[in-house]
């Protein structure tokens, strides 16, 4: 009968595989090459990306493994089981706050970038509001539908990323990869830190602590999650390498959004489109959208676990104005960037700390 259970909120293992790239790939991917290029020499960022990627995979695995030890239990339930109820509530609140911050940031970021690349006359507020409304529409639907949505959009994101990479092969300058391994240790550490923040989607993988509870039988889930995370690292590696080899380290570190600029160099075969970057960014909107939806939904999910009796829609309609307000706080794009860094640090610290603490308590209690 599970076919017809309309409140069926269960998801499959492979949904997590797709959900990880969906929530991690977003605005950060657009400027990660700049962040890496600014602290490393030539193509050395690859090393940092690989180290950072391994760390991120480890974190992801820890999160999923931990959460899958408590199948079909919400974050609140198993945290109160491991520690106690008040701290569990506090941690849930941290994650809710984090979810709200992430949505606000993404909404604001998309408005800023659209303003930059698509239309310069339309007010940022209007662009942001429209985007937020679509996010609200998605969140008010069923939760498993969000995962189906990710599955629909994931191939599009991969395709457009591949497309940009393949078409920019023509412009590769091999000399740009030299000198090899000349960065000092400090640079590597800095770059690794930045790549972990970016690859973990500003710490968004922490939301997996919430979502694993939707899987009925999460036995294979950690493996799938690692696989999903690897695909993110693969995409970032590709984009970073292309950016450096096409633009060179110096240019990359000075470009606002190197990935979009990479799309700008691309010439669409057949001459149908000029300015491919507009199209690229429009499609990338989908990636930013899935990220925002998952963050929003995670916040709603946290609230639902705190107040199980309240209707989900009430949370959505309560949170949306708050998010809109928060998204309008930064005055200009450098402030948006600062806000992003703050949120990233907060999110990653929260995720890593909570995971490690819970693991320690779990091992001790066992």
């Amino acid at each position: 009968m599970k076919n017809f259970n309309y409140s069926d909120e269960n998801i499959y293992d492979r949904d997590i595989l797709i959900a990880i790239p969906s929530m991690v790939i977003a605005v950060a991917t657009l400027f990660l090459p700049r962040e890496l290029a600014s602290v490393t020499i030539a193509l050395d960022g690859i090393l940092a990306l690989l180290i950072g990627g391994s760390i991120t995979i480890l974190i992801t695995w820890m999160i999923v493994k931990l959460a899958s030890r408590f199948p079909q239990q919400s974050f609140l339930t198993y945290t109160s089981l491991l520690i106690n109820k008040p701290i569990a509530v506090l941690l849930t609140c941290f994650f809710i706050w984090y979810g709200i911050l992430v949505v606000s940031y993404e909404v604001r970021a998309i408005a800023t970038i659209s303003h930059l690349y698509l239309f310069d006359k339309t007010p940022i507020e209007v662009i942001a509001l429209n985007f937020l409304l679509v996010v609200v529409y998605a969140v008010s639907g069923s939760r498993s539908a969000i995962f189906r949505l990710n599955a629909l959009f994931f191939p599009i994101i991969i395709l457009i990323a591949m497309f940009v990479t393949i078409l920019s092969f023509r412009f590769v300058v091999i000399d740009n990869i030299y000198p090899i391994l000349q960065t000092d240790v400090k640079g590597y550490i800095e770059a690794t830190k930045k790549s972990v923040i970016s690859l973990s989607g500003y710490g968004q993988i922490g939301f997996l602590l919430f979502y694993i509870s939707l899987i009925r039988n999460p036995v294979k889930t950690p493996g799938k999650a690692v696989f999903g995370m690897s695909s993110v690292i693969g995409i970032n590696l590709l984009i970073y390498t292309m950016c450096i080899t096409v633009f060179g380290n110096l240019a990359t570190s000075n470009l606002m959004f190197p990935t979009i600029e990479l799309a700008r160099t691309v010439e669409f075969p057949g001459g149908f489109f000029n300015r491919f970057e507009s199209l690229f960014f429009v499609v990338w909107t989908i990636a930013i959208f899935t990220t925002s939806v998952i963050a929003f939904d995670a916040a709603v999910m946290g609230l639902q676990s705190l107040l199980p009796k309240v209707n989900k829609l009430k949370f959505v309609f309560f949170l949306s104005p708050c998010i809109y307000f928060l998204s309008s706080l930064p005055k200009h794009s450098p402030e948006v960037g600062d806000a992003g860094r703050l949120i990233g640090t907060y999110g990653l610290t929260l995720t890593v700390t909570v995971t490690i603490i819970l693991w320690i308590i779990y091992i001790v209690r066992k």
Partner: protein
């Protein structure tokens, strides 16, 4: 006692509305348990009175056997097969001149009448229902039982090629209005003893037969259960087409997308049944409905399976492309011309600008006007009688093609776009899906007018949100793309070689996963 009654009523009021309705219907049936009387004249009088003594009600009185018992045959002239009634009922009774030693009615029923479908009924409403559905009733003096003989006939359409889903290669048979013929057409395709036909009665006054059709052992029993539950909730006087049944039992009435396939083709029904789906045949319409359906079904045609896989796949891709054009092309034109002209190649921008010179409207107005004109022409072409229909083509071609351009109202490039969109929207094999695409196209155009490409992508995201939230009988509409069923992609994204299509769709959760005969599956 009174308290007990009240309790009873209370418990009744707390029941769900669906239950109430079914109770109501049952009680309505039991309201007239008028028994057949033993006097023939009184019986005939009462059936006349019940039907209002219509002109086409034939009452043929006769005497039976050597005993000379009075009897009467009652039927409605247009609904019966005259030859059958004359030869196999009337003649046989008249020719039979023996003395009935035992019960004459039993004797007639078992030995005399040469018709297989024969029943005994005892109440007036059953007799009238039988007469109204084309049976012949046989009364005998002194009996409170009536023989009801199924000899329905009358005029009906012969089996023709389905006009709404023509194929170049494939069977040319289509369903007709008679449900028995339709059931036979399906039976001819699937000679499986597990093929099941479950009959329901729909329509308070029309009392139509609705037949739910599935293959036991393949289908998920829960699906049959659910369809059963929904069919029982139908409360209408008369359903003139399966489209009305569809609207009664669909999941979301707000969606522009059809949540069931409608088809005139028995082969489509048969392949769907073997894929674990359920078909619903409705009396009086050649359109069967197949549930559940997904967005991928909407773009596949039966013909894909009849050609070799490579051509089948390419044609399928062509259809995906045309669906894309049908939905996006006018809105892309609006967005590119009015918001992002820099995205087009320079010489194309110049030629567009040159062709738009003198056009007094912005591109949105131009595009909307042309799109609406086209829809008008299309609608007029459907409504007009076939003979005049061709004039619409000429008028439309002139209006859209020549006059509008030379009058400087629209640009030639807009004409190309409108024509391309129109052609593309007709490649969708399912008309109901093509309608949905046409509707959504206008939303895209308005979004493009307001926000350019950004608006298009936002609406595209919204359509996707709608699709993932939509379900057709519990199956997500976006299957097999989301949730991902990679195994099903070989028959959705591409049309893999027929030897590889040995499994029934995974999302259907069929009981019997592998189609043993390696037959084509999934519609």
């Amino acid at each position: 006692m009174k308290a007990g009654d009240i309790m009873k009523r209370r418990s009744e009021t707390t029941r769900s509305t669906a239950q109430k309705q079914s109770n109501k219907q049952e009680s309505a049936k039991q309201e007239f348990p008028i028994e057949i009387e033993s006097s023939l004249d009184k019986n005939i009088e009462s059936i006349k009175q019940m039907l209002g003594d219509p002109q086409d009600l034939v009452i043929r009185e006769l005497t039976v056997g050597a005993n000379n018992i009075k009897g009467a045959m009652v039927y409605i002239s247009g609904l019966i097969d005259k030859e059958l009634v004359n030869n196999n009922i009337l003649k046989t009774i008249q020719m039979n001149l023996k003395h009935f030693d035992t019960d004459p009615l039993d004797n007639i029923c078992q030995e005399v009448i040469a018709i297989t479908d024969i029943n005994k009924v005892t109440t007036l409403d059953k007799v009238s229902y039988a007469i109204l559905s084309g049976s012949t009733a046989f009364y005998l003096e002194g009996y409170t039982t009536v023989l009801v003989m199924g000899a329905a006939g009358g005029e009906s359409r012969s089996i023709e090629e389905p006009p709404s889903e023509a194929l170049l290669r494939g069977p040319r048979e289509g369903f007709v209005e008679k449900i028995d013929t339709n059931m036979a057409l399906v039976r001819r395709d699937i000679r499986d003893p597990n093929l099941r036909f479950k009959t329901y009665e729909v329509g308070r006054r029309s009392k139509q037969k609705v037949v739910v059709c599935y293959v036991d052992g393949i289908v998920d029993p829960a699906l049959v259960e659910e369809i059963n539950r929904r069919l029982k909730s139908i409360d209408t006087d008369y359903a003139m087409d399966s489209g009305q049944i569809e609207q009664w039992i669909e999941d979301s009435f707000l969606s522009p997308f059809p949540q069931m396939n409608d088809t005139e083709r028995p082969d489509r029904v048969s392949t769907s049944l073997l894929a674990g789906k359920v078909a619903i045949l409705v009396e009086g319409t050649p359109f069967a409905i197949v549930a559940p359906t997904t967005i991928a079904d909407a773009l596949s045609s039966m013909e894909d399976y009849n050609h070799r896989w490579l051509t089948g796949t390419i044609i399928r891709f062509l259809r995906y492309l045309s669906a894309f054009i049908a939905m996006f092309l006018p809105s892309l034109y609006i967005a590119l011309v009015s918001y992002h002209p820099e995205m087009l190649p320079t010489h194309l921008v110049f030629s567009i600008a040159a062709s738009r010179e003198g056009v007094p409207f912005p591109s949105v107005v131009e595009a909307l006007a042309m799109a609406i004109t086209f829809e008008l022409l299309h609608e007029a072409g459907v409504r007009l009688p076939k003979l005049i229909g061709s004039t619409i083509g000429i008028v439309g071609g002139l209006v859209i093609g020549e006059a509008a351009v030379s009058a400087g109202v629209v640009s030639p490039i807009m004409v190309i776009i409108t024509a391309l969109t129109a052609i593309a929207s007709f490649t969708t094999p399912q008309y109901s899906v093509a309608l949905a695409f046409r509707t959504i196209r206008f939303v895209f155009m308005i979004a493009a007018a307001v926000f350019g490409l950004y608006g298009i992508i936002l609406v595209y995201i919204m359509v996707n949100i709608h699709l993932v939230n939509l379900k057709s009988f519990g199956v997500p509409y976006s299957v097999p793309f989301g949730p991902v069923f990679f195994k099903d992609w070989k028959d959705m994204v591409i049309r893999a070689p027929i030897m590889m299509l040995t499994r029934r769709p995974a999302y259907m959760k069929t009981n019997d996963e592998k189609s043993k005969d390696k037959d084509v599956h999934s519609s």
